[in-house]
């Protein structure tokens, strides 16, 4: 028979040591899905570089609209901005939804959730660790795509200053700093879709429902955002200010929208996270 602590736990069991972040990350990184996402994150910038190199010629000049594609090839940092711009409204949303939405629901689907809970990993701790692991992976994915874009873009298009569409240049050091700010903003703003997926993940046992549900919700709001008649109601959408990070290209930077975006994202994230914890704490785990 085992030695027992006063709490009734077996000697060697400490709630705060259960499901450590390193263990959860190890569990996640043993999954092909995780490796796949990261491989995609590396591949995407390379793919875009190839595409830009191939079609560099005719169309770019005749387009008089201001856009980031026109200046995408002027430097590695420019290319990175273009990659971020291209991925903000879909690709990164899916990545966040995947990492956050899959985390609890997939355990429920495998049936391993009940063994983790009977270990016992306290429910709130399980959720917290899952949340943190999802955040670490999502941010790591975001950083991967950014770093690959900076490095590969730099090699392909030169380590030069940022050239904004309106002909202003931003020095490399300053540019990197701003890029860090943009990635930081995106990391926070995407928490909205992430935490929504996380909440759904605690509600359903089907990972697809959690991931798909949150992505679908974001798309619905993105479409509604096009409806001018809704007026300022749209400012409260979870998708609001998703491109506010482009404000960091201004000189001087006007951080008003960024600030609003951060606050609103954090509020949404807090609400969804609270809903997730509330639901999970009361839930009967029957899967």
């Amino acid at each position: 028979m085992s030695t027992v602590q006063s709490t009734g736990a077996v000697a060697g069991y400490r709630p705060e040591r259960t499901l450590r972040l390193s263990v959860e990350l190890r569990r996640q990184f043993k999954r092909r899905r995780t490796i796949g996402v990261f491989a995609l994150m590396v591949a995407l910038p390379l793919l875009l570089i190839a595409a830009l190199q191939l079609g560099a010629s005719e169309d770019a000049q005749s387009n008089s609209r201001l856009n980031l594609v026109d200046v995408a090839t002027s430097s590695g940092l420019n290319f990175t901005l273009f990659v971020l711009f291209a991925t903000t409204s879909f690709f990164l949303v899916v990545v966040y939804a995947l990492f956050f939405g899959d985390t609890v629901a997939s355990e429920a689907q495998w049936g391993s959730l009940r063994y983790a809970l009977a270990t016992p990993v306290p429910r709130m701790r399980l959720l917290r660790q899952k949340w943190l692991a999802a955040l670490v992976m999502s941010v790591a994915a975001l950083l991967t795509v950014t770093v690959v874009a900076v490095v590969a873009g730099g090699i392909a298009f030169g380590f030069e200053d940022i050239q904004t569409p309106i002909g202003i240049t931003i020095g490399q050091g300053d540019g990197l700093l701003r890029l860090a700010g943009m990635v930081g903003y995106l990391a926070v703003h995407l928490l909205v879709v992430g935490t929504l997926a996380f909440w759904l993940s605690t509600v359903t046992d089907a990972p697809l429902a959690a991931v798909g549900g949150s992505v679908f919700t974001m798309f619905v709001f993105a479409i509604l955002d096009q409806v001018e008649q809704l007026g300022s109601v749209r400012d409260y959408f979870p998708t609001a200010e998703e491109f506010a990070w482009t404000d960091l290209l201004q000189t001087p930077v006007d951080s008003g929208d960024l600030y609003r975006g951060v606050i609103q994202s954090l509020l949404y994230a807090a609400v969804f996270t609270a809903l997730a914890f509330r639901h999970f704490a009361r839930r009967d785990v029957t899967s």
Partner: protein
């Protein structure tokens, strides 16, 4: 060409900023589940409107003014309120200012909006803010206000009143304050100082002032601003009175009234009157004649100048004593920043308080809704302090949009607009004179051709659209050979230009006169050039040297702008001979244009601070709040954990002997289904307990409750004396395998076991991994992916996982499903040996043989209830029957006789053999009797085994 997605994102909608505060509050309150999105509620007074027609003027010039008075409910005879007169822009009517009027009235002012004579439903003719007519009308309106009992009076017939208006209405505000000293505060917006300088500009010559946007006034000659003038007069001469350009009225839409041509009596038809009506519309004859002359000749005559000067505040600024808020736009090619600058200098010279505000907008581009809202606040704040003595002193500061390197309207692409503020407008009153940065320029002597007829002409500005750079997305059009360009070196540091730069040129002309257009371009490193705000400084030069080798030096003031020249960009002063928007001389000629010796660009700068520089501090505040919330969260979690530990400290004393106790446990679901009802039993240490029942008996539900996955509706479950709540630490003594293996299919069996143990956070040596692996007995298959396993292999890995760490209580649900007979046998031995170490095993099954052969004790469940409990022998032993199979079936009859005589027995025949109810007789006695009678016995097996017991107990045997 495929459309590509550009960097175009929706600009912030109005109110977006205002709600940030509300959002922040919501975050602080951390009311996470019910976030109050506070609306932007304005404590709006109920406002009633009174329409009236006010007669003004005498004789032939008597008119009826169409007015509306907006009365807030707070203004009463007992508590009179200050009044504000709102004048509309050119081409508008009283309806154009309805929005502003409602807003001010809601703030508690009695607001009088009126249509100026010649506009809207007012009668009369347009005199261009003539002091004898339009300005006198203002005095009439003040008289009207003085008679209202809900308007605050400073004295008999002297109401407390402010004037405000945009453009045409702004000028009448200034003139009204100059001519009527009852006016207590004014807030004119985007208006003129001198119509002469505005319509016939010439920005050459010395400037009288040290202000940032000081611009020379037109002397004898100016360059006719033909496009704008045409629009300006066109708006007044069309019969409907509709604004041709909404921008003329400051962006408001003018509702076309039923205005019509001046009534002409056919009986007195006079050809002059008809012509006047058709060509001049509602303009007064003298104004009309002046315009026609100017449009035809493009030159400024003394007659025209006289009419325009009469309508200009420039000459009467010294009479203005009412505190003045001057609002001017940076996107304004009609009334530039220089006009407000001249007003500020003139009014401040009297010691009158003046505050200057530049905003991103003007006649070329209406301001964003956010900016419009900000301006309303500013004007209301000005009146609040100067008319009511309420609110903060708005002071005599100067604010302007933060300079950006973005050309004209392109700025909206990136959204956001910030404002910078300085304590005072440089160069007026006691304020320091404007600071100027000297930027050296270089360039040779350029011959500049002026083409015959002034065509082709450079295109820079389109009235109402501003810079064509913005409108067309291209660069401005400069005609080769028609310009001189002087460049600075690429800038080492970004240079903000706030105001009008000056430069000295050396010009010669064969005729002694020249018409030139000076511009300040921003040239990017790639050579693309942007004309900030699309503004041009026309120069009407006279008395020039005709000798190109000895040119005349001319001091030139470039357009007033707010612009940042980025690092690496070049500042280019470009002087051209033509511009589409202005009249140019018809004769061809060649001028020479060069920089004067040692000339440099003197660019004004203002040392302002960005408003709401909280922009960086508020991020710290946010960070602080988040950190605070984080700390709070940790503290709460600690306290909650401590409380939880206290709750868990209640332990039943016999816990170690009773590893599991169910007491009256019921589980009902919301839909009314009751899975387990009043279940009570105990498991003692060292037992192998079987939980037996058909599918749906509530076995798995009970095990889930025991694992803390489901909460019981009633009753308690204790594990080793501790309540088995979700996540209870005592569950760490439990090993379980319940319904499904829970293995991760993409991992190998070994990885599954190792990761499972790692997740428990317990020391690796406690795992007894090798023993568990031995139990799984998978051999090399352990390192293959679980995906490739058979059901039995998965089952064994899952059981091995349950046994990791050798738990004191092992719970297995249907453990032998999918195992082959030898494995089942081995499993039984493993479980029985396990119990012999003093640990306890619970096995659930719907297979009777399984329970009978594995378990020492059994709890029988059916339909959520316990139907029997005891040792396996007790359950089996109640009543005894044996099946007797004889060697030779022919002996059956004899055997029945032999057995029939034994005490208490009864015999029945069956297909399998004889079923003997033993009664009091032992099996041995029965067999002895048979053998004694010479009957060969093949088998004697217990007949009434658990299966019968089970079926009879659960009531399904009958």
């Amino acid at each position: 060409m495929r459309p590509t997605r550009g960097l175009v994102r929706p600009s912030p909608r109005p109110g977006a900023r205002a709600t940030v505060a509300a959002l922040t509050t919501a975050l602080l309150s951390a009311a996470l589940l019910a976030v109050p999105f506070a609306g932007t509620a304005t404590a709006a007074d109920d406002v009633t409107t009174e329409d009236a027609t006010v007669p003004s003027g005498t004789g032939a010039d008597a008119v009826e003014l169409d007015t509306t008075v907006y009365v807030p409910s707070s203004a009463t005879a007992q508590d009179p309120a200050p009044a504000v007169v709102l004048a509309h822009g050119f081409g508008g009517s009283k309806d154009s200012v309805a929005g502003d009027a409602q807003d001010l009235a809601a703030r508690g002012y009695v607001v009088l909006a009126y249509s100026a004579r010649g506009f809207g439903d007012s009668t009369g003719q347009i005199g261009l803010d003539d002091p004898d007519f339009e300005v006198a009308d203002v005095s009439t309106l003040l008289d009207v206000l003085a008679e209202r009992d809900d308007v605050l009076l400073d004295g008999p017939g002297d109401p407390r009143v402010g004037l405000s208006g945009v453009s045409y209405g702004g000028a009448v505000s200034l003139l009204g304050a100059a001519y009527d000293d009852r006016v207590d505060a004014i807030a004119p917006r985007i208006t003129w100082n001198s119509l002469t300088s505005a319509l016939f500009p010439s920005q050459a010559g010395a400037v009288d002032g040290n202000t940032v946007a000081a611009t020379p006034a037109t002397g004898d000659a100016g360059v006719f601003k033909r496009l704008w003038s045409g629009l300006f007069f066109g708006a007044g001469s069309v019969p409907t009175g509709d604004g041709l350009l909404a921008s003329l009225t400051g962006g408001a839409t003018a509702e076309g009234g039923a205005a019509s041509l001046p009534q002409i009596d056919p009986s007195t038809l006079d050809s002059a009157a008809v012509e006047q009506a058709l060509t001049c519309g509602r303009f007064r004859a003298d104004v009309c004649a002046a315009y026609q002359s100017a449009a035809a000749s493009g030159t400024l005559t003394p007659e025209i100048a006289a009419i325009l000067d009469r309508s200009s505040p420039a000459g009467v600024l010294d009479r203005i004593t009412a505190p003045t808020l001057l609002v001017q736009g940076t996107q304004d090619s009609l009334f530039g920043l220089g006009q407000a600058d001249a007003n500020a200098r003139g009014i401040a010279a009297n010691g009158t308080p003046v505050s200057v505000v530049w905003y991103d907008g003007g006649h070329d581009e209406s301001a964003s809704e956010g900016t419009t809202e900000d301006l309303r606040e500013l004007v209301a704040g000005w009146f609040d302090f100067h008319l009511r003595g309420q609110g903060e002193d708005p002071g005599t500061g100067f604010s302007y949009p933060v300079p950006t390197g973005v050309g004209a309207a392109v700025g909206s692409v990136q959204g956001g607009s910030q404002t910078e503020e300085a304590a005072a407008y440089p160069g007026i009153g006691d304020a320091q004179p404007a600071e100027r940065v000297s930027v050296p320029l270089s360039g040779t002597v350029f011959p500049v051709v002026t083409p015959p007829g002034g065509n082709p002409a450079a295109i820079t500005t389109v009235p109402g659209l501003g810079a064509v750079t913005a409108a067309l997305g291209g660069t401005t059009v400069e005609i080769p050979g028609q310009f001189a360009a002087f460049d600075s070196a690429p800038l080492d540091a970004a240079t903000d230009v706030v105001g009008a730069s000056t430069v000295t040129l050396a010009v010669s002309s064969p005729t002694g006169t020249a018409t030139l257009f000076a511009k300040l371009y921003d040239v990017a490193a790639d050579g693309s050039q942007t004309l900030p705000s699309g503004l041009v400084a026309p120069l009407a030069l006279t008395g020039l040297s005709t000798d190109p080798t000895a040119p005349t030096e001319v001091e030139v003031t470039l357009p007033g702008i707010v612009h940042r020249f980025e690092t690496g960009h070049v500042m280019r002063v470009l002087v051209s001979s033509t511009d589409q928007a202005f009249a140019a001389p018809a004769e061809a000629g060649v001028y020479t244009v060069a920089l004067a010796d040692g000339a440099a660009l003197a660019a004004p700068t203002v040392d302002g601070a960005v408003v709401g520089e909280s922009s960086s501090s508020r991020w710290w505040v946010l960070l602080g709040v988040l950190a605070g919330l984080g700390v709070l969260g940790v503290v709460v979690a600690r306290l909650w954990g401590a409380r939880r530990r206290r709750q868990l400290s209640v332990v039943e004393p016999d816990g170690e002997d009773v590893p599991l106790r169910f007491e009256g446990v019921t589980k009902s679901y919301k839909d009314g289904f009751t899975a387990v009802r009043g279940l009570s039993f105990e498991v003692r240490r060292g037992q192998v307990l079987g939980l037996l029942g058909p599918n749906g008996a509530g076995k798995t539900t009970s095990l889930r409750m025991l694992m803390g996955l489901i909460r019981p509706t009633e009753g308690t479950i204790s594990v080793f004396g501790h309540p088995a709540s979700p996540g209870a630490p005592v569950l760490s003594r439990l090993g379980s395998f319940v319904e499904g293996t829970g293995l991760q299919p993409h991992l190998s069996g070994r990885d599954n076991l190792e990761l499972y143990w790692a997740a428990t956070g317990r020391p690796a040596e406690d795992a007894h991994l090798d023993e568990a692996i031995a139990i799984a007995g998978l051999g090399t298959a352990l390192d293959k992916r679980v995906r490739s396993y058979s059901q039995g292999m998965r089952q064994r890995v899952a059981i091995a996982q349950a046994m990791l760490g050798l738990p004191d209580l092992l719970v297995l649900d249907e453990p032998t499903n999918g195992l082959d007979p030898p494995q089942i046998h081995a499993m039984r031995e493993v479980l029985q040996d396990y119990a012999k170490t003093g640990r306890t095993v619970i096995v659930s099954s719907h297979l009777l043989a399984e329970i009978e052969q594995t378990c020492s004790h059994v709890v029988v469940m059916a339909k959520g209830q316990k139907v029997a409990e005891g040792t396996v022998e007790e359950i089996i032993g109640t009543g005894g029957a044996v099946l007797v199979v004889l060697d030779d079936p022919a002996d059956t009859d004899r055997a029945v006789e032999v057995l029939g005589v034994l005490p208490g027995t009864s015999v029945e025949r069956s297909d399998e053999g004889l079923v003997l109810e033993l009664g009091g007789t032992s099996r041995a006695a029965a067999v002895t009797a048979l053998v004694g009678a010479g009957i060969g016995v093949d088998q004697v097996t217990p007949r009434r085994r658990l299966e019968d017991a089970f079926l009879s107990l659960v009531g399904e045997s009958s």
